[in-house]
Symmetry: C2
Amino acid sequence: MAQKVTPRILSGFMELIPAEQLAFNAMADRVRALFENGGFVPLDTPVLELSEILLAKAGGETEKQIYRFSKGDTDMCLRFDLTVPLSRYVAQHQNELAFPFKRYHIAKSYRGERPQKGRFREFYQADIDVVGSEKLSILYDAEVPALMYRVLRAVGLDWFHIHLNNRKLMKGFYAALGLEEKATDILRLIDKADKIGLDNVRAGLKELALSESQITRILAFVQLSGPFETVLTKAADLDIQHDLYQTGLDELTAVCRGLIALGVPETHFVVDLKITRGLDYYTGTVYETFIDDYQNWGSVCSGGRYDNLAEYYTDRKLPGVGMSIGLTRLFDLMKAANLIPAGRATTADVLVLPMGDVSAYALDVTRQLRDAGIPTEIYLGEVKFKNKMTYANKIGVPYVVVLGEDEAAAGQITLKNMQTGVQETLSLQDVVLKLQTLGTAEQDESCV
Amino acid sequence: MAQKVTPRILSGFMELIPAEQLAFNAMADRVRALFENGGFVPLDTPVLELSEILLAKAGGETEKQIYRFSKGDTDMCLRFDLTVPLSRYVAQHQNELAFPFKRYHIAKSYRGERPQKGRFREFYQADIDVVGSEKLSILYDAEVPALMYRVLRAVGLDWFHIHLNNRKLMKGFYAALGLEEKATDILRLIDKADKIGLDNVRAGLKELALSESQITRILAFVQLSGPFETVLTKAADLDIQHDLYQTGLDELTAVCRGLIALGVPETHFVVDLKITRGLDYYTGTVYETFIDDYQNWGSVCSGGRYDNLAEYYTDRKLPGVGMSIGLTRLFDLMKAANLIPAGRATTADVLVLPMGDVSAYALDVTRQLRDAGIPTEIYLGEVKFKNKMTYANKIGVPYVVVLGEDEAAAGQITLKNMQTGVQETLSLQDVVLKLQTLGTAEQDESCV
């Protein structure tokens, strides 16, 4: 063969080497185990959807980023999130589902964003949503972040805060100030408060022709801080006369108390009247999550409540609440921050090394170890022992079994602990007992 | 909102409702657990690849089926299998990998085939491959089907046969008969023997202007049958003088003996000199797997040995051997054949039903059950008890916890077994003990 094609992937895509892939999968497995522990069922929708479906609502920046193409007469897209497919799924299968429908979905989405650090064009999301028929208890707005709290702890993040706000509260606040028409512009400014600073927010509000008294009230409102009970009390004392404001306050109170009842410590969530979740379709509670030492990562887990999930596909009212973790991005950030421990490049606990003409015995030992539930690799092929040990070290396998003609004749096994270097000759049964203990210990650890 | 978009998916795509999805995931989990038990590491490559990479070799029918499009200046495709991405990956990361490199990959591929029963345009494949540097022991040609044997048993298939053949043996056979130039046409005919019958193969061979004696020898050869030792002995006795024939025979012998040493019973594999795996890139061993009662499903697990996996991307010689299960198709076929037991539509073992104003207590009980590792769902929202029980029955949860004001006051729990109807009032601790036993029992079952 003459000309070679340079092996490479598309720019902005992530690909991992085996040790990294095992670490990523361990993370995804923990997420999945906790989603299932919380009683959420898995969904798996097609990566490709009809453009008519996926773009029923989309617009603006997102639409430009979408991978859209035709094959034959069919105009299709790669999904850009897991929420639109969920809304299509729920509308399509509404008669086959039990409501409230609680699903999780861990899968890839696609956005042709400009490649930059921590942003990928193909990325895993880990989403949970609860969708009700006609109505949905506000307590699910606590259930969802409570589960995400457990998930973030389980993947190795200790110090983070889930920030809560409520769109009704915001809407009621600006309506009470007579600022309904300017609310969108104001929220857009407030949303940037952490980035641009409050002085610039103040300047921006002035440009919107707000009175000094309005600006003062707004800045006092969005800066309310402290333990959630304090913030809620202060917010109640602001003398804002508007039904929506009161409703939003009641909802936030129910969500905070629900979080406490579900075991989320007060050290890990906060009522933050600055967060707005952009101009998304949320209508009630909204969430963002920031890691204490890594504020610059932005929100690693966001979401909110929406009144009507599937309005583009059905007349049935389907309110929902959900949150999403950008798993690929989180993994990439944690790896860069050395929060992902370096692991081995094999799933095996033991590597069988046949020495000499003992392959039948070695294959049989391998089979018996595997049958006993011990992940086992066998090195086949005649190379020098040194090369086999190099391989063992390279993949980081914790134990090696050496089988020569002596072992085959005696039906024994030489087991070497690769960490301590200790080597002993044992019966197959003793090796199984020894390695099963190891396996169980590791499994317990990973099963949260 | 006025006009609704009819919620639907692209034709030829598969989507499952929750109970089916859980069954599919259980199947995929078993496959994955056994791949890892065999010491194969997971890979996850991008779904999208540069067309230049993916089409370096492809051609003919496959190329027409590919989802190919451009975004900006980039010409890209959705992958149509997991083997081409593997070859690109191994060439690209060769200096970071340990050889022999053993990887599994369970993921979706895309082919715009004409939709038909059991054929999907988006489908999961479950692949294992072993890739060596420069050379690779023939015993890996036994290791790969031995693992697939375990996998197929684990997903619930009892009676099937892995059919083995060897390209070198075939090539040597036709060369010895002076039919080198016609070998491709002959193999194409032989490959269809099971579909068109031997009489039609004979007629076809005549059309290729073969002599009666050549036809007789070919038909005798491809019809050799019986236990593998018998077939191999008969094949050795055919008086075919060609080095490649002898090499192929030696390889087949080593593979069969390896399968026995790895615990694959003789009842489940067979040397079948009729199978050829089309005109693929295989150069040695080839595999197909047929289920005894469902021959019409075609091969459910196929593959083979290739001399040089990544020749389009690197000069380094990387021989490999691999097999692939079409998981989506297999699941669809097994479902249609009632080989997939109907299961529940929830991951939870227990559903908590708060009655009256006890949500703080109910949320706390839920948290404690989840912390104890018991998958727990909670039904929030004020609806009639009857409606909550309808929901419990619809999702098929095995236990329900009923928490009213009496239970909250006494710190007790009423646990109902949904299958037997038996109801008892217990402490939280006793409920945990009871349900943990249940969970462990089920987990053991699913962990092979």
